[in-house]
């Protein structure tokens, strides 16, 4: 049985393009539609998001890319008028099923938002907010989590001497990395990033892009961006959204060098958007 599948794979690899390591799918989106009131925002979205890769979602403003990423952790439900159909499976479980608790989903799917949104608390309290929420009370464990998360978010050296100062004293870029640390502190499997660098200066943006590169070893990252160079630099796969539809979804290299669809080509060559 094992050898049979292996042989089959080998033949596929031989006939297809360069050698590809097999990746597991973490999110399986099937015929997903979403409405805000009477306005349809997403049309028949089909996407498989791979594990431990960076998946970028690009497209012009209002194309539904933020809506889509917010559906992945059900944050979109905070909008009262929202309606959906189709399925989104996370690790083969339907996230909209009544058995799947939304708190449970969001414990393994973290999110970083467009504008840094730290709490008006100390840096330390910001990072341990998630673990504390999930019932971790031991000071020693919390201290370790704080240090580990801040190191992962490449912020530790800048803040280790002022962990108990208010997070609003940090610069915008530092605040965003603090939000990433806060998200890492709950040890999620997936990190969703909704235009995480659009409010930041170029240096902070570079830092966060490097961070994303380092994090993908341990996390599956989905990042929404309207910056195409950013998508090309940091992602493994890219989806192009337009007017609520997925126009093209492919390996980043392929999508940027040789787009299948005319509209994708027009967008990435800057003809609109």
């Amino acid at each position: 049985m094992n050898t049979a599948t292996n042989r089959k794979q080998v033949s596929i690899i031989n006939t297809n393009e360069p050698i590809k390591e097999e990746t597991k799918t973490i999110y399986e989106v099937d015929n997903f539609n979403l409405w805000y009131g009477d306005n349809q925002a997403l049309y028949e979205v089909n996407m498989a998001i791979p594990m431990n890769k960076v998946t970028a979602i690009i497209g012009p403003s209002g194309c539904g890319k933020s809506t889509f990423i917010k559906a992945l952790n059900r944050m979109v439900e905070l909008v009262p008028s929202v309606k959906m159909n189709g399925t989104i499976k996370y690790n083969d479980k339907d996230i909209f099923s009544s058995k799947y608790k939304v708190e449970d989903l969001r414990t393994s799917v973290g999110m970083v938002f467009q504008n840094p949104n730290p709490f008006p608390k100390s840096i330390y309290e910001n990072v341990v907010y998630g673990p504390k929420t999930h019932g971790i009370k031991k000071k020693k464990v919390l201290d370790e989590i704080a240090e580990k998360s801040l190191k992962e978010a490449a912020l530790w050296d800048e803040v280790k001497d002022r962990l108990h100062e208010n997070a609003f004293g940090l610069s915008g870029g530092q605040q965003q990395r603090l939000c990433i640390a806060r998200c890492l502190a709950i040890e999620p499997d997936v990190i969703l990033m909704d235009e995480p660098t659009s409010a930041l200066d170029p240096i902070s943006t570079t830092k966060i892009e490097e961070l994303v590169q380092n994090l993908k070893k341990d996390y599956s990252i989905t990042i929404v961006t309207h910056n195409m160079q950013q998508a090309a630099r940091i992602s493994d796969k890219t989806a192009f959204f337009l007017n609520g539809e997925v126009i093209e979804y492919n390996n980043t290299d392929a999508l940027f060098s040789n787009p299948d669809d005319k509209r994708t080509e027009d967008y990435i060559t800057g003809r609109f958007g």
Partner: protein
């Protein structure tokens, strides 16, 4: 071709500037009116009341003789009343605000309740007094006690506390909720650890202002039959009681001229208490505002 005639503009110039000056004077007079009246009032009260205001006045019970009359029982009654009113109205008011802002589904019924809470804030206090008399004093047989008075006062200031707490909660940016929910926090965890800490300055400010209104209210307590002449301190929440404004009201109603002066001294005490409470509210507001 010039559409704007420079000559007309010049001719109108003086007129515009003069009418601006006139309006400025009128608005100044409007503000001055209130300030002057307040100054006269304060001057009268202080000149009449100050001679009577001393330690003896604060520590004596009410008396038939103006020189011996004091406000000990009234101060104690006011403190007791606040001790009952503050926790009841704050717990009920903040709870209502949290439910309406965070948990209630957006529908016709919720909108109806929201609208009527604002309306309730405009109901005359005498009506609340009648309600207290019927429900607490008679129906629930609490008698003319501190608890009946405290519950009536709680109802009176409840709408104010609900509305100000709702505003404090609504002022919290949406991104704070998102950050908390996105980490798998429940609604209650978010309320307890993000919403309430951020809203508490606003809630306290509104609460203190509402309580300072309750301290100055007379009508509802007269309706439920608070006493006006007592020479003992309340022992528990079932005791009869009097409060500062009722004591003042009682003194001003007496024929002897001296009692009117004693009333002025009582008013000074009440004003100082109100001023203190309002200053605390202002202090809290300025200390905690602009955190985002």
């Amino acid at each position: 071709m010039n559409l704007v005639d420079k000559k007309v503009v010049q001719n109108k110039m003086n007129k515009r500037i003069i009418s601006n000056r006139i309006m400025r004077q009128m608005f100044f007079l409007a503000s001055a009116f209130g300030i002057v009246v307040l100054a006269i009032l304060l001057y009268r009260i202080f000149s009449e009341g100050l001679p009577y205001l001393d330690w003896r006045f604060l520590t004596n019970f009410a008396s038939r003789f103006p020189e011996e009359a004091g406000i000990k029982a009234a101060i104690a009654g006011s403190v007791w009343l606040m001790a009952v009113t503050a926790p009841i109205s704050l717990v009920l008011g903040v709870g209502t605000a949290i439910y309406l802002e965070e948990y209630a589904k957006e529908n016709k019924f919720t909108q109806f309740i929201r609208m009527n809470i604002s309306n309730l804030a405009g109901v005359p206090s005498v009506v609340f007094g009648l309600l207290g008399l019927t429900v607490f004093v008679r129906l629930m047989e609490m008698g003319r006690s501190i608890i009946a008075g405290g519950l009536t006062m709680s109802l009176l200031i409840l709408p104010i506390i609900v509305v100000s707490s709702q505003e404090a909660i609504r002022a919290i940016p949406k991104n704070q909720y998102e950050a908390s929910y996105a980490m798998g926090a429940t609604k209650w965890q978010t309320i307890r650890r993000i919403v309430l800490p951020a809203a508490i300055p606003g809630i306290l400010t509104g609460g203190i202002l509402a309580l300072s209104r309750a301290i100055g209210e007379t009508a509802p307590l007269l309706m439920i039959g608070a006493l006006s002449f007592i020479a003992y301190l309340p022992e528990n929440i079932w005791s009869g009681f009097t409060v500062l404004p009722i004591q003042i009201f009682n003194w001003t109603g007496r024929p002897q001229e001296e009692f009117h002066l004693v009333a002025s001294a009582g008013i000074i005490v009440l004003l100082i208490i109100l001023l203190l409470m309002n200053s605390i509210a202002v202090l809290i507001r300025s200390k905690f505002s602009k955190r985002y």
